[in-house]
């Protein structure tokens, strides 16, 4: 349902309900007022007749035949007020013209009563005149009273029936006007091309829509940044893949045209090495993207076990380079981690892999743990001071011309960032590099 229709229905129903209650209220109070006024009239008229009888201004027929009482006013309500005078013995002494044939009420004492005479309901006031031995009854028809009340209500309902549609139309049009800024925003959004992530056009915005608008602008900005980063990354990755491809092609050509077996064998070895490196590059690209996608989780992590696992994983690599991998992290102490263990695994694994690659033959790589800090130490040449600030950027490699993809530290750094921790690379004295993974405080 559209917001406009929804608001319209709410407003129309609310207006209708308020009108209806107002009518009910007016009807009720009109009825009460009419009853009060007409009751007073009945009583007054009855007392008047009774006092006229006492003053002998109206003569009572001695023979007991009814006399006519010239009581009634004129107009619409003619014949509606009726008067009867009965003797206490129960004979009709006199009555007004048009009074019903039967006794108006069976009630005896002075006071109001209601009765049905000739199929009509009457409201009657009786005055007992004990001195004259008569009862004076003055009554009017309840139907007349109802007509009075309904006349008032009809007078209200007619303008209401005319006004309500006008009011509905006014509400409908005002809602359209009121919601126009939203339509404009929706239109602006609808007409946007998928690549357009610029902020929404500036212009006056209603206060209610400002939060939505700034939230949208914020979303656009974030999307735009993410997309830019992705584009950069894709372009970068494509270029990074071209260099090993160039190496592969060159080596393949050499293998084809090599004048001797040694050159050919060497070229083929280089092809294998290049395929391995490219494979690692692709694996690390995927790992980096997995690290960046990794959502929040809660893991219990045994740092010692993690460290031992990674050492076992990288044992073949270490062996091939004759590097000793040592884990000094005690097992059996599970750490609560405010993220998935995958992230810490990725960070530590890449640091250890880097350390092994950087180590000279026969050297040692040591993983240690001190509270919330996991450290990896090697005895390689260390990260040159000039490169240290950029070392964690993607595709930034050491200057030693090694087999690195330039992604290891980028992955470790991105993973630690996701974890809420930090990767620190203290300055190296050229006698080895230390890399520290600072885990976040448990929370």
């Amino acid at each position: 349902m559209s917001l406009r229709l929804r608001l319209f229905l709410i407003l129309a129903l609310a207006t209708g309900a308020i009108w209806f209650s107002a009518v009910m209220w007016i009807e009720h109070s009109t009825r009460a007022q009419v009853t009060k006024v007409l009751d007073a009239r009945l009583a007054e008229a009855a007392r008047m007749v009774s006092s006229l009888l006492s003053d002998r201004r109206i003569a009572m027929a001695g023979d007991g035949s009814p006399v006519a009482i010239p009581l009634d006013p004129h107009g619409d309500y003619a014949h509606q007020l009726s008067c009867q005078i009965w003797s206490l013995r129960g004979t009709l002494v006199g009555q007004s013209e048009g009074a019903p044939a039967g006794q108006l009420t069976g009630a005896h004492g002075t006071g109001y009563s209601e009765s049905t005479v000739g199929g009509e309901t009457w409201r009657v006031y009786t005055v007992e005149n004990a001195a004259l031995g008569v009862r004076v009854m003055v009554g009017d028809s309840i139907g007349v009273r109802e007509r009075l009340v309904s006349g008032v209500i009809e007078g209200l309902l007619l303008p209401m029936a005319l006004i309500l549609p006008l009011l509905a139309a006014a509400i409908w049009i005002s809602l359209g006007k009121g919601l126009a800024p939203m339509h404009r925003l929706a239109e602006a959004l609808r007409l946007r091309s998928p690549s357009d992530l610029a902020p929404l056009p500036v212009g006056p915005v209603p206060a209610e829509m400002r939060p939505m608008r700034s939230a949208l602008d914020g979303l656009f900005a974030r999307l735009s940044r993410a997309r830019e980063a992705e584009r950069d990354f894709t372009a970068f990755a494509a270029h990074e893949l071209k260099t090993p491809l160039a190496g592969l092609r060159t080596q393949a050509q050499i293998a084809r045209i090599a004048p001797d077996a040694a050159t050919r064998t060497r070229a083929l070895q280089n092809i294998e090495r290049s395929v391995d490196r490219t494979d690692r590059l692709v694996r690390q690209l995927l790992e980096l993207s997995a690290v960046e996608r990794e959502g929040a989780a809660q893991d219990q992590l045994d740092l010692g076990q993690l460290s031992a696992e990674i050492c076992a994983d990288l044992a073949p690599l270490a062996e091939a380079r004759d590097v000793m991998l040592v884990s000094d992290v005690p097992e059996g102490s599970a750490q609560p981690l405010a993220a998935s263990g995958f992230l810490l695994h990725a960070a530590l694994r890449n640091l250890v892999e880097n350390a092994v690659q950087a180590s000279p033959v026969g050297a040692k790589v040591r993983i240690s743990c001190d509270g919330k800090v996991l450290a990896v130490e090697d005895s390689g040449p260390g990260i040159p001071e000039a490169l240290r600030a950029r070392a964690c950027e993607r595709f930034v490699r050491g200057t030693q011309g090694g087999d690195g993809s330039g992604l290891g530290l980028a992955i470790a750094s991105a993973a630690m960032e996701r974890l809420g921790g930090e990767l620190r690379l203290p300055p190296s004295d050229g006698q080895g590099q230390r890399a520290e993974l600072h885990l976040p405080r448990a929370g």
Partner: protein, 220 residues
Amino acid sequence: MRILIVEDDPVLSEGLSVGLGLSGFTADSVATLEDARAALAATRFAGVVLDVMLSDGSGLELLAEIRRGGSDLPVLLLTARDQVRDRIEGLDAGADDHLGKPFDLHELAARLRAILRRAEGRAASVLRWNGLELDPSRLRGEYNGAPLAFSRREFAVLHALMERPGQILSKPALEERLYGWQEEIESNTVEVHVHHLRAKLGREFIETVRGLGYRVAAEG
């Protein structure tokens, strides 16, 4: 023709060295801008194959330095970014040619030969002198109509002498063109190569200028 390769990818760098060696070049390779500066200061190269993205900076920086120093050293840029914009940037920075990765080794060698030739002020690829036609693209020659094969080093010596006919080249200058840093310079090798060349071309084709070096004899 001694070429400096500046490339930080070890497999590609080695491939370039070996591949250009097979095409008759003598190639030395370095992986960083810093090493490239040192190499250019220490040795006379005929040309440079320069990668743009290096670990310690952009190859274009080095190119700009070379051109600022007033050098016309032929430079061929290698780059993984091969958009028109990148090519224009490279050529405007003073590169003589541009090749996108991955590339064909033969094309690289041909382009290198072309920019080296132009640096020497020649356009024709085949060198001609005294009845000898030398084709650097095939490392072969034709002497008075008969095909002649040369070893890589023999060809390099002959090529060096025929680039500037009549100019005397000293033995160390020839050695510098023949051997990269990794290679041991054997004593007397230049003499040995000249000896072999004279056996193929006759004694008079290459003259020994006592105490100075060698040159090709005047045409006649």
